[in-house]
Every structure is written in C-alpha cells, then in structure tokens.
C-alpha cells in the first residue's frame, strides 16, 4: 500500500509536469500578450514591461524559471520579506533553526495584469471561496442523492421508484446554467426568501450550492440505485435473508456498505468537477471565487494566473482520485494494490 501511494504521488508529479507543459505551450501560441490589451501603450513601454517580467527571455528559460519557482521549496531566514516577486503559498515556520526561519514553497509569481498582486495572494483569497461552494454543493449532492437512490431501489418498479428516478433525470437535465437563473427568479425575485446574488452569509450559499449540487445528486441517486439493486441480487444477501435476519439489518449491514463502493469512487472526480464547475455559478451569482478569475485571466492573457489555476485544479483532481482509490481499498478488503 505504501509503495502504491508513493508510486501514485510520483505519477502526480509527472501529470502536473505534462499539464504545465501543455498549458504553457498552448497559452504562448495564442497571439497577444498581457500588456497588449491596454490600448495606446507605446511599444517601448511594452518592451520594458516584458523585460521586467522576463517575458522577453527564451520560452524554455521562462518555463524552467516558472517551474523552478513553483516546485522548489526554499528555506528563508528572518530577512525574508514578501514581495511581488516572491510570495509563497505554503509557509512553515522553522523557528528551532533560528528566529524567523521558515520553509517556503509554491511561489506562483506576480500577476501580469494586476501588477500589485501576486497569483499566490489571488489564489489564497479566492480558492477558499470556491472550495466552500464546492463542498456545500457536494454535501447537497450526497445528502439528496444517496437517500433518493436507496429509496428508489427499495421500492423498485413502484411509483416511488418512478418518482425518484424521474427527479433524478430532472436533476441531470438542469445544469447550473439552467437552475441558477430559475432559482434566482423563484426564490430570490419572486418569493424574496434568499438574496439573488452575493457571497458571505449562509443564506447566500444555499442557492449556488443547490444550483451546482442538484445535478450531482441526480447522478449519485442513479448510481446508488443501480448499485444497490445489483448487490441485492447477490448470493450473500440471499444467505443473510435465509439466516432469518431482519430486512433492515440485511439492507443496512450487508447491502449498503457494498453498494456504496461505486458511489465513493465517483466522489473524487465529482468533487473535482464541482470545484471547476463553480465557474458558471460564480458568474451567475456574483461570487468572488477562483473560477471567475480564471475566465478573466484567459481573456487578458495573464499567463501566471492561467498556469497557477490550471495546475492547482489538476493537482486537486489527481489528488482526489488518489484519495478515492485509497478509500476504495479500505472499504472493500478484496481490493489490494501492489
């Protein structure tokens, strides 16, 4: 197991490396640059700005510089001051090595269009917002999806099943882009129960989380139902019933635990999808998350924000899958990784 995790972590490094290379190449092939968008800037100033941010260096050198700055940790003493050029996401104080000494890691570099800010600062401001939204949506997905799926499976081929699966199909058919405006109109404008836009209070989380999580709850419900139905057909369920166990015991102890394995496996990709899926919701509901920044940074050719966001999302995605695989082995003892 330990060996397996190490191998997967090495794989993570390789994936991030390839993803960063593809992103870097694609981003640089696009004409225009972060400084060209402002109208009326003389070429001399653009040239100076490019020199200032090292954008006139050979592309390979820029790429290596960027990756080195991001990937290599640094130990700094008390003379370290946060600056636009050096701002680290992870700062671990190592005071036993001397006052002010710290291990610093992941310098995302300066933002090219918001020049007083670093990408690290933008990420640490906006990522928590996207994460909160994503987590709330995942909760909505699981808390609605799993019970609905169990309900439908236990009442298979009755009206309960049809209603449950009808709701599920309805759910998959309303992505945030549809559900967002409808929720906004019904609960925000029409009934006036919840604020239409904004971020900060609990009431402002409800609609975006629902808009994002409802479609996922439908997926989870369908998966739970199919998986539970399959498990209920297994021999060991018949054995358990034959032993004379109570129906509830059979379902909760014997069936559910096994039925939820496929559900757990989709939670990883789902969590990652929710995190990236926050884009639309953030735009519709005016939420200051990372997704909004990313879309703008693409349009403005803010290279460092693009790279930082893509790598961050990719890392979350691969990491989520790794965690799922580990949980998978933990739930189902038949699965052994070597």
């Amino acid at each position: 197991m330990g060996k397996y995790i190490v191998r997967r972590l090495l794989w993570l490094v390789l994936v991030l490396f390839v993803v960063s290379a593809i992103t870097f190449i694609m981003m640089r092939l696009v004409p225009g640059g972060p400084f060209n968008t402002e109208r009326g800037v003389p070429p001399a100033i653009i040239a100076n700005l490019e020199r200032r941010y090292n954008l006139d260096a050979p592309l390979i050198e820029q790429y290596v510089d960027y990756v080195a700055g991001l990937a290599l940790p640094r130990i700094t003493d008390s003379s370290f001051r946060r600056s636009v050029a050096e701002d680290y996401l992870i700062n671990i104080p190592l005071d036993f090595l001397g006052e002010g000494t710290a291990l610093r890691w992941m310098n995302f570099g300066p933002s090219l269009t918001r020049r007083s800010q670093t990408v690290t600062a933008i990420i640490s401001d906006t990522l928590p917002v996207s994460m909160q939204l994503g987590t709330a949506a995942l909760l909505v997905g699981v808390l609605i999806g799993v019970p609905l799926g169990i309900f439908a499976a236990l009442r298979r081929n009755t009206w309960g099943d049809f209603v449950g699966m009808g709701v599920a199909i309805l759910g998959v058919s309303v992505p945030a882009i549809i559900l967002g405006p409808i929720l906004q109109y019904v609960f925000g404008v029409g009934l006036g129960w919840l604020p239409v836009t904004g971020w900060g209070s609990f009431a402002q989380v409800i609609m975006p989380a629902f808009a994002l999580g409802f479609a996922q709850s439908a997926l989870i419900a369908r998966l739970t139902r199919a998986s539970l139905l399959q498990v209920l057909n297994e021999d060991y369920i018949r054995t358990a019933r034959a032993k004379g166990l109570h129906n509830r015991t059979v379902i909760i102890v014997h069936a559910l635990k096994n039925a939820l394995i496929p559900v757990v496996t989709v939670l990883g990709p789902l969590a990652a999808a929710l995190l990236t899926g926050t884009f639309v919701v953030e735009i519709i509901f005016g939420i200051p998350g990372l997704g909004k920044f990313f879309v703008n940074s693409i349009i403005n050719r803010d290279y460092t924000i693009i790279m930082g966001t893509v790598l961050l999302y990719a890392a979350v995605l691969v990491f989520a899958n790794l965690i799922v695989d580990i949980v998978y082995a933990w739930i189902d003892p038949r699965i052994r990784y070597t």
Binding site: W11, L14, V15, V18, V19, I22, T23, M26, M27, L29, V30, P31, G32, I169, L170, V172, S173, V174, P175, I177, I178, G180, P181, I182, Q184, Y185, G188, V189, G190, V196, A226, L229, Q230, N233, A272, T276, G277, F279, V280, I283, I284, F294, V295, I298, I299, I306, T309, V310, Y313, A314, L317, V318, N321
Partner: protein, 347 residues
Amino acid sequence: MTSNLKRSTAAAAIPGLNAETKPESLWRSSVQRLTRNRSAVVGLAIILLTILVAVFAPQLAPMDYKTQVLSDANTAPRWVTQVFPVMRPADDGGYVKINETYLLGADRLGRDLFSRIIYGTRVSLMVAFVGPLVALIVGLTLGLVSGYVGGWVDNVIMRFTDIMYAFPTLLLVILLMSFFRSSLGNVEPGTFAFQVGELDRASGGMLFIFIGVGLTSWMQTARLTRGQVLFVREQEYITAARAIGSPTWPILTRHILPNILGPIVVAETLTIPRYISFEAFLSFIGLGVNPPTPSWGAMISEGAGAISTYPNQAIFPALALFLVMFSFNFLGDGLRDALDPRMRGIE
C-alpha cells in the same frame, strides 16, 4: 438471456451462418425494448420535433434572429407580464412596455426572443450530435487499439489518457477555445489554418466548439472501449474466431465491435446532455458561438444579468435548454435499458 446472446454471437463466428441471424435478433429486441419504454419514446418524439424546428427554423421563426429594433428593446406581451408578476406593465404603474408583436418578448437589443430560441436549437442539436461523434471517433479508435494490441502500446495510450483525464476539462476547453479563436482568426489567406477559420466563421463559430468539446471528452470513451475489449477478447467466440484463422481486422470489426458497441453507444448517448450544456457554458462565458448567432447559453448569459427586472429573457431560453436536455436524458436512459446487456440481468 445472456447465454442465448452468447450462443447467437458464437454462431456468427462461423462463416455462412452469420448473415441474417445475429444483427436482427440483437437489434430488433433492442428496438422493441426501447419502444415499450414510454418516457424514452416521449424523449425521442421531442428530439425529432426539435430537429424539425432546427431544420425549418427560417420558416418557423416569425422574425429574423439578428434584426435589432432598439425602440422595442425589453418589451413584452401582456401574458408574459402575467406569468412573471415582477414585470409590472407600464400601464399598471410598472416599467415593462407592452408590445404584442413579440410572442415571448424582445431582448435588450430589441430582437425577438422566440425567433432566437428557434434558431438556437440549431447550435444545441449540432453539438449534441457532432460532439459525441468526435469523441467516439477518437475514443473508440484509441480504446480498440489499446485493448486489443495490449503491451507497451496499451500502456502508452492509457497513460496519455490518464494525463488528459487529469487535465481539468473545463479549463482545457477554455484554453483550446481561446487558442482557436484568436490564433486562427488572423492568419494569412490561403493557408490551411485560414480555411479552417473561414469554415468556423461560416458555421457561426460552431466548428471550434465541436473540436474543442470533442477533443476534451474522448477519454471516458477510450477507457470504456478498452475495458470492454479486454473483457470480450477473452471470450470463447473470439478464441474460436482466432482458431479458424480470422485476421485481426475482421475480428475487431465483426466480432468485437458489435459486442462492445451497445454499452459504448449508451454511454455516449448519456453524455449528449453534457455536450449541450458544455456549449451553453462556453457561449455563456463568451467563448462559444460568434454573436449574433443565437445560442441558448449566450441568451441565458445575457438575460441572467437582468433576472430581477426582465426574467423572461433568461428563463425562456433556460426552459428550452432544459426541455432538450431532459429529452436526451430520457432517451439515453431508455437506450441504456434496451441495449446494455449488463442491465438486462437486473430488469
């Protein structure tokens, strides 16, 4: 049921016996299952209707989708103001100008919402059919080769798939789209890139959506195909086909492909709504179709900003999008029940 299926496909491996028996028994029973599923039939009917609407959009739309009548901007007929109580008509102390010429109202540029929704079916349906096709071509090919050839080829293809899988799809699509849009937009006339750009402009920006969405969605198909091939490859009828000396290509196309196609087609059908919402999303953030080509996503995006004052501008396209996605989901569901052999044991 399963053993019958196996026997009929095994019989198909013997030359001379396969001509009529296999495809009919498999497909006819599937079609029967599908037509017995009422919700799938309803879904199919709505989709066929939508296709008709898309084809005959110029005849059906009462107005042109791009004509702007600025004096009619944000107007609505009376029934719309009754459906959305927020929109108090101007003659009732509100702010909405009543104008009965537009069936669903006019948008902020004075374009007919109804006509734009009708033309919007074109983009959504095109993406619904071409998107999965691109993904199918790429994914099926890679999956077949990977699964059947095995060895290092399998390893390379699957690792590449894994890496692409780890690439956040939405981000990749956004990157690809901005790459297509701006780098192929201003190249010298006469080159291949220019031709592609022209083709994209002629399609109202749809071509790049197809490519962008297709290139980011094939991974699942490739994995599924590979898994299916690995399973089918070990079946007795493949061994039998090999034993009688069938070359690789006929084994792949006549024995493996028909047996794995069911689950894959079902999986692709189930992802159609995803492609539709992908396009809507891209148009929503301004990287989709070129204005003034109407797309429901772009319409929702324009209308969402005015949700508190003119909700009709976002809600109507959202309902249209919902109806089409709902139908495809119903149909996909029915197809899965009809075609997926693994589901048969349960039903």
